[in-house]
Symmetry: C2
Subunit: 718 residues, 2 copies
């Protein structure tokens, strides 16, 4: 791959296919969504016709169609949550039929409005709306396969299964925090790229938030930031239905939500009749749009299970099928004579406008973009890279290089060098820390702070809000394939954000988690701050890369891997303490996950294999030196990422860990659990299977036996 002088201007590979491919289930390492080209003919398309509002009768019928599509899907599956869709159908209708800009035939059209169902259990609502709007991902047969093996309509919204779904929700509170990330991305990109008279980035982010989301701490964290940042194009609907699984919310949730949001700096509106007050909903949305400097919370009071004569307004309609009898009673009650899954012609006809309207919206935007590109070539190229996710050719050559003679340094500092180097070549790299920027070493020196009035900048100040931070980063990552969010805290505090990190992994959001102070090596702060079980806990999590580099070269390698894995998040465990630059480490080695850094054996038959990660690789290397002096043939293996090693061929693995060699020792300042996989039955793991302690780091290492002497003694005992 050739180096590029202006790396951001050159995109890898041809950019010819439209941005329509279902991106899910592609192989993990060749996943890039390609850029939607600006077609020449698009410029000729006239302004799209405005969306036609339906007549009041058709609105009523459409709202009931939404309700019954949801009811029927849940009923057929005999599993699911009909209550929210029945209550929120009017809001859903207005949003998808009257308010939102989208193109059903290209769910990935860049400038679409984003919609997040934070109360993800109500996904039958979203599926019904996508179906009516003409998305290919939710045909009638998909609604009929709700919650079934292999369907595109799983039990909670999953962006990687269903085009049209922006983010993966279900775990409560995540969606609203993702929405904050989506709105942040819009505000940031708009500030960076829009020009007077050519506002190429201009969309809203809408979210429906339930009582459950409101109780979760993550939503308070994210919404506090949304208020702080003044995300005026974020509009959240609070589905105030007074019912959660355990019954009336009065039993556990009596705070004044609207007053809380005002305290968080939001504009607030209350729609008192969310069941039939269509004009009230419309007026609230208009008002929300008119408030430009604050996000808006619209509290919409609804009746859960609206229309069900015996189950509405009760927890029994929250999470179970209504049952045939109550479905019939609801059909009677709402005057719905149709067969299951039937959509009346007038509703179909009305909604059919969204395919041409959506195509026109995109064509209009494409024309606008073509004009933009003519005037602002460099900006357009950068934006294209962000839209497509194509990494600039040779970007990785910008990463710093190290030799064994480079000064010893903490990997958190080396990480900062990598981040700053990468930020110069990757237009979509932005992020920050949960109030530990000066400890995590995550500030981008060429940029200022992303703030309400400086949203074009790239240093995000998350405050002490780890969970919100992770979920906001998921929203940023899923806004555009080329946005590469990173976020940072102490490694142990992944415990606070694990819910969001798991969703990074599941929803294929390539967030980079910069986790410093990665062991007892942080010293005096003590056991509350010292991770022990965290490495193995992420090694066990699917579709996430756990990387623990040992020096500068490996840190650069870890960044190369992390940046290139756009559909798999990475966790970088980095040291607080200084580490030497080790001979034998390499970026190529890191890409293989486990590799030999030194060896004095011949014929792939060492007497002993020492394996280690991160800060303990130095100990392994020193112990090997000593043992070699005594005539032993010792191999040292860096195990920077178990997941990457597991993906290598059996042949490669055998060259690193020959089956015949059973004398193996692992050294890692963390739980020994799992090391048996590589150390085998006859090997030994030196690690920490207790909590840490408050003392200077060197002292703890010594007391815990993480020393060259102990490795040598263990080697001799094998």
């Amino acid at each position: 791959m050739a180096a590029a002088s202006s790396a951001t201007a050159l995109l890898r590979g041809p950019a010819t296919a439209p941005l329509r491919a279902h991106p899910s289930r592609l192989p993990l390492r060749s996943h890039r969504v390609r850029f939607a080209p600006v077609r020449a003919e698009a410029a000729a398309v006239s302004m799209p016709p405005s969306t036609q509002t339906a007549s009041p009768t058709v609105v009523d019928t459409s709202v009931n169609a939404i309700r019954f599509l949801a009811i029927d899907a849940v009923e057929k599956a005999n599993s699911g949550h009909p209550g929210l869709p029945m209550g929120c159908a009017p809001l859903g209708h207005i949003l998808f039929d009257e308010v939102m800009s989208y193109n059903p035939k290209n769910p990935y059209w860049f400038n679409r409005d984003r919609f997040v169902l934070s109360a993800g259990h109500g996904c039958a609502l979203h599926y019904a709306l996508l179906h009516l709007a003409g998305y290919d991902s939710v045909k009638e047969e998909d609604l009929k396969a709700f919650r079934q093996w292999g369907s595109r309509t799983p039990g909670h919204p999953e962006n990687f299964e269903t085009p049209g779904i922006e983010v993966t929700t279900g775990p409560l509170g995540q969606g609203i925090a993702n929405a904050v990330g989506l709105a942040l991305a819009e505000k940031h990109l708009a500030a960076r790229f829009n020009k007077p008279g050519n506002e190429i980035i201009d969309h809203y982010t809408y979210a429906i938030v339930g009582d459950g989301c409101q109780m979760e701490g993550i939503s308070n964290e994210a919404c506090s930031l949304a208020g702080h940042w003044g995300l005026g194009k974020l509009i959240a609907f609070y589905d105030d239905n007074h019912i959660s699984i355990d019954g009336n919310t009065e039993i556990a949730f009596t705070e004044d939500v609207v007053a809380r949001f005002e305290a968080l700096g939001w504009h607030t509106i209350w729609v008192k009749n969310g069941n039939t007050g269509y004009d009230e909903i419309r007026a609230a949305i208009e008002e929300a749009k008119s408030v430009k400097d604050k996000p808006t919370l619209i509290k919409v009071t609804t009746t859960i299970g609206y229309g069900s004569p015996n189950k509405a307004n009760s927890y029994s309609v929250h999470g179970s099928a209504l049952g045939a009898k109550e479905v019939n009673a609801t059909r009677q009650n709402l005057g719905w004579p149709h067969e299951p899954f039937h959509v009346p012609e007038e509703v179909k006809k009305h909604w059919s406008q969204h395919v041409p309207v959506g195509a026109a919206l995109e064509a209009e935007w494409n024309a606008k973009f073509a004009e933009y590109e003519k005037k602002y070539k460099e900006d357009a190229a950068e934006l294209k890279s962000i839209i497509s996710g194509e990494l600039p050719i040779g970007w990785e050559k910008a990463l710093p290089t190290y030799t064994p003679e480079s000064p010893a340094d903490a990997t958190r500092n080396l990480s900062q060098q990598c981040l700053n180097a990468a930020a110069k070549t990757l237009p979509g790299l932005l992020g920050g820390s949960a109030d530990l920027a000066s400890s995590n070493m995550t500030l981008l020196k060429s940029f200022g702070d992303f703030q309400k009035d400086t949203p074009e900048e790239r240093n995000v100040r998350f405050g002490v809000r780890e969970h919100g931070m992770g979920a906001i980063c998921n929203g940023i990552a899923l806004h555009s394939p080329g946005l590469i969010p990173y976020c940072a805290t102490f490694f142990v505090f992944t415990d606070y954000m694990r819910g969001a990190m798991r969703l990074s992994a599941l929803s294929e959001a390539g967030v980079i988690y910069v986790m410093t102070h990665d062991s007892i090596g942080l010293g005096e702060d003590g056991p509350t701050h010292q991770p022990i079980e965290h490495l193995v806990s992420f090694r066990a999590m699917p579709n996430i890369l756990m990387l623990r580099p040992a020096d500068g070269t490996e840190t650069a390698g870890a960044y190369k891997v992390a940046v290139e894995n756009r559909k798999r998040p990475s966790v970088l465990a980095l040291s607080r303490q200084k580490l030497p630059q080790l001979p034998g480490t390499s970026i190529e080695g890191v890409e293989k996950g486990g590799y030999i850094i030194s060896d004095n054996s011949t014929g792939n038959k060492p007497d002993l294999i020492l394996m280690a990660t991160g800060s303990e690789l130095e100990i392994a290397a020193k112990a090997a030196d000593e043992l070699r002096k005594e005539g032993k043939a010792v191999r040292v293996v860096s195990f920077v990422s178990w997941e990457l090693f597991e993906e290598q061929s059996e042949d490669y693995k055998e060259t690193v860990l020959p089956g015949d060699v059973s004398a193996r020792i692992s050294i890692e300042a963390g739980s020994t659990l799992g090391w048996e996989r590589f150390v085998g039955n006859k090997g030994k793991s030196i690690g920490i299977d207790r909590f840490g302690a408050s003392a200077p780091a060197g002292k703890i290492y010594k007391e815990f036996g993480l020393t060259v002497e102990n490795v040598i003694a263990s080697a001799k005992s094998l």
Copy 2:
């Protein structure tokens, strides 16, 4: 052990030693703190003299003494956080010298006021106060050993290291949530046990909360509940100093905290001059005490690093030693001519009152209790059990029993039977779910809801607030050794509360985590709700028991273990789906962690060992039946708790897993990582190393190969 007809009335073992032993570092399974006897002579002690308020000059000197003890400790360690202690010294002085009831010579005196430093990094403040007050745990030499190996003054407050510290803080937001739990416990016990004219339980809970705590979602969760419950004796001081690690809080935290707390149902007060406004602070505390039906937030505006001429009001004083030069400048500035660690005589003399006052307070209370015991024998016995942590003799006989003929049932339902049985015999058992009571099956049928006006009840409704729930339970557990809190959600949502769970483990809070829907077996809700990596992630966490019972007998065994491990929390992973009662399971087996449930081999030499946990034990048992029909000698091992198995003797382990037998297969619906420990290099693990899927449970099991057929095929391949 004999059964007892009135189990709660009989306490195990002699109850003679005073409650003064340092409970830390005792062996894990014989940890009980013994009950402080009511000494006959106590009744004769007259009312304790009121605490004398110091003269204004002595107050000033005392406040500076607190500041410099903290400064000197941090300076000597060259590590720590001097800023908060310097800013909060006035508040600390008033609380510990004028407001709080405690007995320095018995930090475990039951009716003491509880104090929590939620901003735990400022622990030098707390150590300085404990030192002045006369606690034996913090002598001058302890202050000098701040943050050193083996000291009683670690880098963050640790209840298990330092008598006088109530809970372990440092991870932000945990402490205020613990304080909510402590205040809940007080309100609950007071409502249950107090009698007109004999208010045997009557104490306040105070907390100091920093900006960081306020940003964390967990604090909003817990404080929303505190408002809902009307915890009038909870008084939280918000140290409003405008500085966090990344600088001025303006960069990430501009919400109106006081308005938010009002929205949460709190009474609020603002002390504008927390630096020198002693009377303002005093008046605010008086006002807070007068508000009985709401918790109070007192925002105290302070200057971080008050007194330091060059570093006050900056982040540089937050988390680093001042340095010799600035220490000298601060000495000059505050007029403090003394040597490091010096406490002036007038301050010593004044504070010396707390030893006799504390002794008198406890004696008075003991007298009150003696009177109470005379009048209310049964209540007193129950309360004694809660205070001491002595379990009623034979309590475990109340647990339900099952036979292979008992009907198949989900372990979540069997768990409910155990919980309800245990609640009848364990006076300190209380808890609830994060809005999933009807799914987690955690309601205690003999009790109502703990609510603002019914605090004597034992079903706690946490709402959808997992992290707050866990931390509140830590507070309950650490309030009294005999309080046994349980809490519940879906197993996957431990991701939301892991920060609190790790602190249960570290701080030896014996919380019981009732985690249902423990695998893909939950079916249609899909991968966001299906745990995969969670079992191994808890197996790797120190001092926590991960238990996955397979049927009714094992569920009862899991409860026996969980209840008896009062210094080690337990996580019970329970099925949503029905499971048969298996022949061969036993409570004794569960206590060993891994044991043989069936075997047709002789001489400890089976052809094959099948091992499984929870819902997959049935699969292993059925596969064994089939293989035995083909003449194989097959052993089936239930591996309900790895941690308990690891604690058994090598001899016992050999009887279960003979070293000579390498044909071993594990079956578990979760990550295979770690099973190598028991399966060995030549064995095979059947599990799930990807995310789950949305479909009926049976379908997913089949698609993922968790079937009898697959086990048999694997067995034949070995």
